[in-house]
């Protein structure tokens, strides 16, 4: 699993120098039980199962602040995305179903939000 995560993300977690700048930049760090810098460390140490079970990964906003500000060009967001994909690609791993969409809608919600949610939360 660790190799899959590394391969599809293209990230080498060993480049990380553990400065914590990604976490300091992250607008969602409070919502994630594992903060971006811990996340990188956990992938490096093969603790993928724990990451896959963490609900906090859905709060990553793909805002790329961590990617922009990492001095070592580690790209933590890509690791989070890879773990999220590992979850939704499992049988029954989706956690957004088309039936759930109507009650999420309101008059002004842009299509973009729904398309994005489908891309993020289901396969």
């Amino acid at each position: 699993m660790m190799d899959t995560i590394k391969r599809i993300s293209g990230v080498n977690p060993r480049k990380c120098m553990k400065c914590g700048k990604c976490t300091a930049s992250c607008p969602a760090f409070d919502e994630m039980e594992f903060h971006p810098h811990q996340f990188v460390d956990m992938v490096e140490n093969g603790r993928i199962d724990q990451l896959m079970q963490s609900r906090g990964i859905d709060f990553c906003l793909s805002c790329f602040a961590c990617v922009e500000r990492c001095p070592r060009n580690v790209e933590p967001a890509k690791l989070i995305e890879a773990v999220r994909l590992a979850v939704v690609r499992q049988q029954g791993g989706d956690h957004l179903r088309p039936e759930a969409i109507p009650h999420l809608l309101d008059e002004n919600l842009p299509q973009q939000a729904i398309t994005a949610a489908f891309r993020k939360y289901r396969k």
Binding site: R7, I8, S9, G10, P27, A28, E31, D58, F59, L61, S62, C63, F64, A65, V67, E68, A77, K78, E81, A82, L85, L96, L104, D106, N108, L109, P110, Q111, Q112, A113, I114, T115, A116, A117, R119, K120
Partner: protein
């Protein structure tokens, strides 16, 4: 000058104001946005995983269509822009992705990211020029204090977007000056509004939005502009006590006088 134009799903529906006023203003400024004959939704999020191929195809098709027309490809929605520009870069730099996309689409002529992708704001800055824009303004928005809300997708990652300085951008402020108003610089203009999470957690989105609004207001902004339909939605619907938010094209049309003409 004619550009190929990729409107995207949202601009045809909830984000009409971004589209309509962008097109009308283009005509007033002497360029034309020619909508691609056939386009498909870009998917709204850039597929970060290297093995996601199918989700890159609609961008590649749009890029190739513009290339065949011999035109540069212009987008207005910041999400479309983000996705298409980054997929184009994948096609330029990632041999595996390029190869898999080519085989998927059964391409006769290879595509390696030759098309130029421009955001509308880049057309204003780099092709028209803000000085020229200023001269075309008939209703300068004098006295209005406007905060630019950049959000994430136009700016980051700067190494791929090449749009502006990601920490201290100026393009929207220069735009605001060109239409005669006063730009208000505030720290959170390039922090994420939390829009993607509005479906998951309104409370979380609200927290992000309130922090942005508080900061913008404290710096003296009276209104905000954006290029993103999701930011506009989120900043409007999820604010406890928000400032008014508009698309930059609405203000552009107002300044160019095209709004009255169409009334």
């Amino acid at each position: 000058m004619t550009y190929s134009y990729f409107p995207g799903c949202t601009l045809k529906t909830k984000g009409k104001d971004l589209d309509i006023w962008g097109r009308a203003s283009a005509e007033a400024l002497g360029f034309h946005l020619q909508e691609l004959d056939q386009w498909q939704c870009c998917g709204a999020v850039y597929p970060m995983a290297k093995d996601e191929i199918a989700t890159r195809l609609s961008s590649v098709r749009a890029l190739m269509a513009a290339g065949e027309a011999g035109q540069e490809l212009v987008t207005l929605c910041s999400a479309c822009h983000h996705v298409i520009k980054r997929v184009n870069r994948d096609m330029q730099t990632d041999e595996t992705i390029r190869d898999r996309v080519s085989r998927y689409l059964g391409l006769q002529t290879p595509y390696a990211g030759e098309t130029t992708v421009l955001h509308y704001l880049e057309v204003l800055r780099d092709r028209i020029g803000f000085d020229n824009l200023k001269q075309k303004v008939v209703n300068p928005l004098t006295g209005r204090k406007i905060g630019a809300y950049y959000g994430c997708m136009l700016l980051r990652p700067a190494s791929e977007m090449g749009f502006d300085n990601p920490e201290n951008p100026t393009i929207l402020e220069d735009f605001i000056r060109a239409i005669g108003a006063e730009p208000v610089v505030y720290a959170r203009r390039n922090e994420c509004c939390g829009g993607y999470c509005t479906i998951k957690s309104k409370d979380y989105a609200r927290k992000q939005v309130d922090a942005i609004m508080e900061n913008a207001r404290a710096c003296g902004a009276q209104e905000l502009i954006t290029a993103c339909p999701l930011c506009l939605y989120n900043l409007t619907e999820n604010a406890t006590d928000g400032l008014p938010v508009a698309y930059f094209t609405q203000l552009l049309a107002e300044a160019l006088g095209v709004k009255e003409e169409q009334k």
